[in-house]
């Protein structure tokens, strides 16, 4: 690949990000501005921002890599990412917005009236956020190496610096604008080369995808177990459950809903998000299929995740192929930057509110400005996953993201669903469910990430924990709640009114 093109594209994306961020800085003044853009973001721009934030390295590079490497069954990943928003819309979009909280721990505390639940949620937000940041930084390193040949740590560092500068300087308002721009940047970056490549493919007589080596399970057919997958049916269902239910529990997704002016706007926003994601996710499988046509065997030392970046040069020769690769590299960087910004924003928000603020106050005697604490939290939120990304061995981008979804599905999904709809949820029940679901899912994640490959059923169950850990978390929350009826929060009725009554109803709110 032509290094100059690639570096130009990446520099351009970083510059656009920083400039749009600085634009928001001038209007970001109060804490409310800082965290949720003063709640004045329109549904359309908010939806673009959610799309921009949500389409991560896993979407831009990871899906194509997974489908390329493991075949048809991986198509469930983009489907699950999209369907997750429908589930979120149907179950929690409006109640979440109407709860009027800034962050997930805010919601938990308001609903369950307990500081310990709040702390538990804070830990989970930080855990899920870091787990999700990990593949973003690894992906950045990967893309940067493909483009420039620089060592992997450089790409991650570029993302860290740009994101910290942006988030710490402007907070959410600048981020909302940045994210909205990023969606359209990413869509263009993946769609335009796809059309060009498909055109070239048709010009070549539209050859079919190939799989080299001995005849084995079919790459193109569902549930064939291609790519060494055991128990394909279980893995498929567990993936669907994790992605469909996990989306609502992702910290950077939730924080976006608070920037809607009201519950109606929250629903309208989510609807637009489903449309925007659907348009985008048509494209990654195209790269996987063309990858099978033109690059049935990857050059040694190349990971499947880089198929999107490697494809143009394999299809087109000369300048045009390199130019498309550069466009794709720029889009991929937009993906790392936007998702990492959103995650950093929410992780930093939680770190700041629940961990750092009280300590800083103690040291400075309330002498500091609130925004300073937040800026410190931003640095912490980014440096830890960067260090972890350097230490752990990368296991497919979309796989790591899938684990973050599984953890979210096993903890925040039951909390949000039961918290929004079930009056008999008790503080003890919620805490028990969070602890059990979190421990099971996190345990499975750790074994998968740190342990070697495990075969057979145990391996499949641990690699895709959502199908069993989510129902267990729900069951624990319900059973323990029923067993502790005296611990229903006293303000439950009032909270339920607030979560479900339309804003047009002039209530006596406090």
């Amino acid at each position: 690949m032509n290094t100059a093109y690639g570096i130009t594209a990446i520099t351009l994306v970083c510059a656009v990000t920083l400039v749009t961020g600085a634009f928001g800085l001038r209007v970001s003044r109060t804490t409310s501005d800082f965290f949720v853009a003063g709640r004045t973001v329109t549904p359309y721009r908010n939806a673009s921002a959610i799309g921009g934030e949500y389409l991560s390295a896993a979407s831009f590079l990871g899906i194509a890599g997974l489908v390329y490497a493991s075949g048809f069954d991986m198509l469930w990943f983009p489907v699950g990412y999209t369907v997750g928003y429908v589930v979120l819309l149907v179950l929690v979009a409006a109640p979440l917005r109407r709860s009027g909280a800034y962050t997930l721990p805010d919601f938990a505390e308001a609903r369950l009236e307990s500081r310990s639940i709040r702390l538990l949620c804070s830990v989970l937000v930080v855990g899920i956020g870091w787990l999700y940041l990990l593949p973003q930084l690894q992906g950045a390193g990967l893309a940067f190496r493909v483009v420039t040949g620089a060592p992997a740590w450089v790409g991650g560092l570029v993302v860290v610096v740009v994101v910290v500068a942006n988030v710490a300087a402007g907070g959410m308002r600048s981020i909302t604008l940045v994210q909205a721009v990023q969606y359209w940047l990413k869509l263009t970056a993946i769609a335009v080369p796809a059309f060009v490549l498909v055109g070239a493919w048709v010009g070549d007589g539209a050859p079919g995808p190939r799989v080299l080596g001995e005849a084995g399970p079919s790459w193109a057919e569902p549930l064939s177990g291609f790519g060494g997958q055991d128990h394909a049916v279980y893995a498929t269902y567990s993936t669907i459950i994790a992605l469909a239910l996990g989306t609502m529990g992702l910290p950077h997704v939730l924080v976006r809903f608070y920037t809607n002016p009201d519950g109606h706007a929250a629903r309208r926003t989510t609807l637009t998000v489903v449309a925007l994601l659907g348009v985008f996710y048509v494209f990654p499988p195209v790269y996987a299929i063309l990858g099978r046509v033109y690059l049935p065997e990857l050059p040694g030392g190349t990971r499947a995740d880089s198929i999107v970046l490697a494809l143009p040069s394999a299809v087109l020769h000369g300048q045009s192929g390199q130019l498309l690769s550069a466009v794709l590299a720029g889009g991929a960087f937009a993906a790392f930057l936007s998702t990492a910004s959103g995650l950093t924003m929410s992780v930093a928000g939680v770190l700041d509110q629940d961990l750092l603020r009280s300590r800083i106050s103690r040291i400075t005697g309330d002498d500091h400005v609130v925004a300073q604490g937040f800026r410190l939290a931003t640095v912490v939120a980014m440096v830890v996953p960067y260090a972890a990304a350097r230490l752990t061995e990368p296991i497919g981008l979309a796989t790591t993201v899938g684990l973050a979804f599984a953890l979210a599905a096993s903890t925040f999904c039951p909390l949000l669903v039961l918290g929004s709809w079930w009056r008999r949820l008790t503080t003890v029940g919620a805490a028990a469910g969070l602890v059990v679901g979190g421990t099971l899912a996190a345990g499975a994640v750790l074994v998968t990430m740190l342990g070697g490959p495990i075969g057979g059923w145990p391996g499949s169950l641990l690699a895709q924990p959502a199908a069993w850990s989510t129902p267990i978390a729900f069951a624990v929350m319900v059973v323990v709640s029923l067993a502790t009826p005296s611990r229903v929060p006293r303000g439950t009725a009032r909270t339920m009114v607030r979560l479900h009554s339309p804003e047009d109803l002039a209530l006596h709110r406090d």
Binding site: V86, V87, P222, L223, P502, L505
Partner: protein, 129 residues
């Protein structure tokens, strides 16, 4: 205590029947007040709204679960569907790669409209009282 001065005493009223108008007016205190204060009456209305919304949500989810969850089941039960083609293109790829997204959008749109209708009807009921 001395009796109140003549001027401040209320005018005499001849009572001829129960005060029906006044009694209804007290009941006309806005229902939104009942809801905001979680009186028993307000609770009944809120429970109605919530169960209507929840029924709608579960209906949409059941449809989605049957549609998406049914797909792998179909592939398991009828293996012939795995390799089906439409024209020259493999059908499973078309369904899962493209068709899913417009369907998801239509379902989401149906839900948004239906839930806004539920809320509008709720507001109408509250305003009517």
């Amino acid at each position: 205590m001395s009796p109140a001065p003549e001027a401040a005493a209320p005018a005499r009223v001849r009572v001829t029947s129960t005060r029906r108008a006044a009694a209804t007016r007290r009941g006309l205190a806005p229902l939104s007040h009942d809801i905001g204060e979680q009186t028993d009456l307000g609770e009944v209305y809120m429970a109605g709204l919530m169960s209507a919304q929840l029924r709608l949500a579960l209906r949409v989810l059941a449809f989605g679960a049957a549609g998406l969850g049914g797909l792998p089941l179909l592939f398991v039960l009828v293996p012939a569907t795995r390799g089906m083609e439409l024209g020259r293109l493999p059908l499973p790829w078309l369904v899962l790669g493209i068709l899913v997204y417009p369907v998801a959008l239509v379902v989401a749109r149906y839900y948004v409209r239906a839930s806004e209708r539920v809320e509008r009807e709720f507001l109408d009921v509250v305003a009517r009282r």
